[in-house]
Amino acid sequence: MRRGVLGERSEFDGLALVCLLPSLLYVLALFVYPFLYGIYLSLHPLKLARFSLANYATFFTDPYQYGTVWITFRLAIPNAVVVSVVALWLAYGMRRGIWLERTITTVLILPISLGVILLSEGILGFYGANGWLNQALLGAGIVAEPLELTHNYIGVILSLFMQQFPFCFLMLLGYISGIDPSLEGSARTLGATPWIVFRRVMLPLIAPGLAIAFALVFVMSFAVFPSALMLGQPSGATRSIAIAAYQQAFEQYDMSYASAIAVIMGLCQLAALIAIVLVRGRLASGATIGVGKR
């Protein structure tokens, strides 16, 4: 009846085309094209107006600029490690359903729904030198001087953790509760203690999901922008690569250089993703063969 546009026996007909076209055009025009245009632009510096790697050369010879790559990794990797380890611990402990589950998940999604700006503003107050936390610590005599928790590295990490922990936790909880509980039961009857069940049975099966969660948290943290501005030292210790790109675009009005920095940011995320996928391949080789078709 229908001769497929995209191959034999395809169910792709005129109606399908008409239905898909608007969204496809939208994604192509406002996602794919800007990406390609950004790459093109980054290779045609403002001053030269011809093909050149000058933007990239400038970036990697200027310590103030290439330093941002290191600064961003220093924020993103520890955050991703802490978030995924804590989320794994909590999600594993709560894999069999929890008391007040719906309430707890609702509370956990609050930070995500409230958004990074409100959260950062709250953290500025709560963790600030005169905030409730320092008041309590001083009052209890635990510290003599207020702790410096904002306008530095710690402040940014706090904000990243609050944003990404719930996301990572709920993702892992879904992944772990999808693992057949009778695997645990059978391992127990074969003589495994709870710890050995975790080490030898559950962790290998969780590893692929954990790698994905870690990768997502890392990629999100690597693009850290507003919390690095609000809670950190945007011209110093927490000048992330996104800040560098933003400054070139909207303070120096050098879109070409800004695009180059955005491309470098994207490549760093891609490199990390590929590395994680490779590790995941190793981790999961047995398991994927094991589950066969799934």
Binding site: G7, F31, L41, W132, F167, A245, A262
Partner: protein
């Protein structure tokens, strides 16, 4: 029992997390109503003056108008563009479908800051930077895929047999859509609409990169005032934050009547794996 201690530790962590969150949110709330507040557990006197101050000085009427307009426009446009695509992706099999899904998935996966800069560059080049249109076009980039991925399972749930039996009974394509698909899809449209609304209102990066003088959404205005720091009294900024928070909370309460909490987070749901 070691198992008991373990469970206890888990609950302590959750309680700690909740206390921390309450501290963060409570700080903003108390500060917005404080006359003066410095180094004490609670301010000595409360007032609502800062809301009046914020409303006048931050031009909040205009900002709120922009925010609602952007959010509603995003909902309508994303649903209009996304629904037919979700239908085809849920119903039809064709070569290249996996690739197409991946393409739609990318704007949700890649951080907005990463593609926001080239997107802003492009929109500025076409003269749309700083305009309301530019803001709406930009925030739609992740919202169209979100609409697609939220609606797909709803279409899958409506068995194709319903369409077949309606066709056998003599319904035309349009009648099938109007009389069968649309009524059954209402919960899906509601879910997707609310998710898009909440996400757009709290979207910072894309709105920030595209907004100009008259096209700031509430979060963007909030950011500028926090970051400008010191120029305005912190209480007035917190009053603005409370208005924003109230708006998000109301939407969230409505949203939770229709969606599972996890759906609020898993914008990726259905797309991955």
């Amino acid at each position: 029992m070691r198992g008991r201690l373990w469970k206890l530790a888990l609950y302590l962590f959750v309680i700690g997390f909740i206390l921390n969150l309450m501290g963060i949110v409570g700080n903003v709330l108390v500060s917005a109503f404080a006359k003066r507040w410095f180094g004490k557990p609670l301010p000595p006197a409360f007032t609502t003056d800062w809301f009046v101050f914020a409303w006048k000085n931050f031009d909040l009427g205009q900002v709120l108008g922009v925010t609602l307009f952007v959010a509603l426009a995003a909902v309508v446009l994303a649903l209009l563009v996304g629904t037919p695509a979700a239908y085809v992706l849920a119903r039809r099999k064709f070569r290249g479908k996996a690739l197409l899904l991946l393409l739609y998935f990318l704007p949700l996966l890649i951080p907005q800051m990463t593609y926001g800069i080239p997107l802003a560059t492009t929109l500025y080049r076409f003269g749309l930077g700083g305009s309301l249109t530019g803001v709406i076009l930009a925030v739609l980039v992740p919202m169209v895929p979100l609409a697609v991925f939220v609606l797909m399972p709803f279409f899958e749930q409506i068995g194709i047999h319903l369409e077949w039996s309606a066709a056998v009974l003599g319904a035309t394509r349009f009648q099938i859509f109007r009389r069968i698909l649309f009524p059954l899809l209402v919960p899906g449209l509601l879910t997707a609409g609310i998710l898009i609304l909440v996400n757009t209102i709290s979207n910072f990066e894309l709105a920030f990169l595209l907004s100009g003088g008259g096209s700031q959404t509430l979060v963007v205005a909030l950011f500028y005032n926090v970051f400008a720091g010191g120029v305005r009294p912190v209480y007035s900024i917190d009053a603005m934050a409370v208005i924003y928070m109230a708006m998000v909370m109301v939407l969230l309460l409505i949203a939770l009547r229709f969606v599972r909490p996890t759906q609020m987070v898993f914008r990726l749901e259905g797309g991955g794996r």
